[in-house]
Symmetry: C2
Subunit: 368 residues, 2 copies
Amino acid sequence: MSEVYAVRRGLLRDRFAAAGSAAALVSRPANVRYLAGGAPPGAVLLLGPGEDVLLCPRAPAGDPPHGRPDEQLRLTVLPDDDGDPVVAAAGLAGGLHAGSLAVEEHDLTVARHRAMAAAAPRLRLCDLGSTVEQLRLVKDEEEIACLRIAAEITDQALGELLESILVGRTERHLALELERRLVDHGADGPAFATSVGTGPHSGQGRHRPTDRRVEEGDFLSVGLGANYRGYRCEIGRTFVIGTSPADWQIELYDLVFAAQKAGREALVPGAAYRDVDRAARHLLDSAGHSDGLPPSTGHGVGLEIDEDPQLAPTAMGKLDACVPVTVEPGVHLPGRGGVRIDDTLVVRPEADGGPELLTITTKELLAL
Amino acid sequence: MSEVYAVRRGLLRDRFAAAGSAAALVSRPANVRYLAGGAPPGAVLLLGPGEDVLLCPRAPAGDPPHGRPDEQLRLTVLPDDDGDPVVAAAGLAGGLHAGSLAVEEHDLTVARHRAMAAAAPRLRLCDLGSTVEQLRLVKDEEEIACLRIAAEITDQALGELLESILVGRTERHLALELERRLVDHGADGPAFATSVGTGPHSGQGRHRPTDRRVEEGDFLSVGLGANYRGYRCEIGRTFVIGTSPADWQIELYDLVFAAQKAGREALVPGAAYRDVDRAARHLLDSAGHSDGLPPSTGHGVGLEIDEDPQLAPTAMGKLDACVPVTVEPGVHLPGRGGVRIDDTLVVRPEADGGPELLTITTKELLAL
């Protein structure tokens, strides 16, 4: 596995060297983990001009939830109170006469950037931009295997919840129980804060659970995902509580289902991000639900739960094979609730069977 | 309650006006919440030169875990995809010919700062520094009341756990159960990731729970806290599992207990931060445990779990009355485990009875 990280670092090195930098400093935690195998809290990765170094503010723990750093990589633990690792890295690069150092300006604060400049006045700091994020877009099969396991865990946790009594329980309790089940089934933790919304709260993507209790006749929306070895997936489902759904519930469900299906079917290599979004969105728009639609109907997942690409009306770019994304349209009617259906899929060529659905929990409208 | 926020904003305005700025932009979420009463995700607060405005990337939710913004404050919700609220704020301040705008350079990324400068080229961006953090140091009685409730919830959750069977359960499960109990008792959530460490993992401050199970003869360390209306407290306790502790366990416990007591007793208005640290630390040092001591033996708490002051050997400054801090020395012996004892207290003058202990769970060595 170690070679994988060395290869990734090599690719990054090619990019920043081509842009004229002798060295780069990676500080965004997901980027550090991608390149170093593990990102102990606060660790930053200095690539070149000398040996690659992972600078950590303290020694990594024995059983780390943030991954285990590649053993091929030099690991420097800074003494207590020895300040910020990015400043130490600037000092190191300055001492080696790197000339210029590419940094992640979208991650570093102005204050840290200034402290680096002060520590190495001869070093020219330039912007690495989102180079590492771009490398992270297309996943290798090892990464997809982690996402697949994360999705299996997620499906199991959700499946068990559906077998239990729901009426009378609060959104908070259901969310906590889902998170416990994720961990029971082997997740390192939830991929993001689990969302449970009942009745008027249903149908919203990131609703924070409240003390509202599930009632007969409610829509119940859940959004959850497992984090497995750093890789995060996402599922969203909406159910009805009680014997039989009302007509407006069936109608709204069928509409969102159709929109989500259209989005999933648009996931082919070469499809423009905005066209995937439009496929899902236009059905909701035509049905008069353009108000209150979320700004995107899907996004990439990986070491972060919300990473590139964005499937949104103004997004630029086209899907590649082996890019995992969510497709998650939803409609929320203020005061009444709504429906959201969300899957994690991997873009695959048609010759390989088309998009690979990772989250396989049924999307039939279940009455629980 | 609304006046409180207006008064705080007035104090901040005095500070930045004295430093020569016509306007300030607060972006750090805890600072926004302190001044605005609520900090919807991504919201930033622009003070002056015109009316104060809370700029939000989307409409605040109905039942917000991040507080409810002061109704006296103008609230501007940016249209979808209308970019970064800090850029919108720079445009607003530039349009009002503010001249200069003080920003939180320790919070803003270089990329966001650059986008602000581009949006308002005539605006001079200067540094607000940690002015708001300084205002937050001394708490008013309303804030302390929130911390007191947070501590009560925390004590309840911990007390219930102690009544249950512990042997055979994993660190992860115990941590999840503690977090569920915090929420059951009215917390908005855990104040930080609950830490449970058994056997060789015990005695570490921020140990991340693993699948190790509690065994007879183990030390068991827990660290948890409730978040109540944004205010976060912290408790840490260490127990022994089984009938009777070993001699080394009693000895180590007594030592850490004495160190923690010394730290607590040093909490008087006017005491230097470093002297409080030294009071707790020197007992551990003299017993030969200087290796592996944490860099600080306590810190402030409030809207963030780890805020100023730092009780550390090189910290500068003196305690004021009404500053809540933790006192949390610990010793961890690699391979064997250790002891950590952590309380949240409020500094009070001796005339008022001395430090107010918020976390009242017993510190006797309990054999469970």
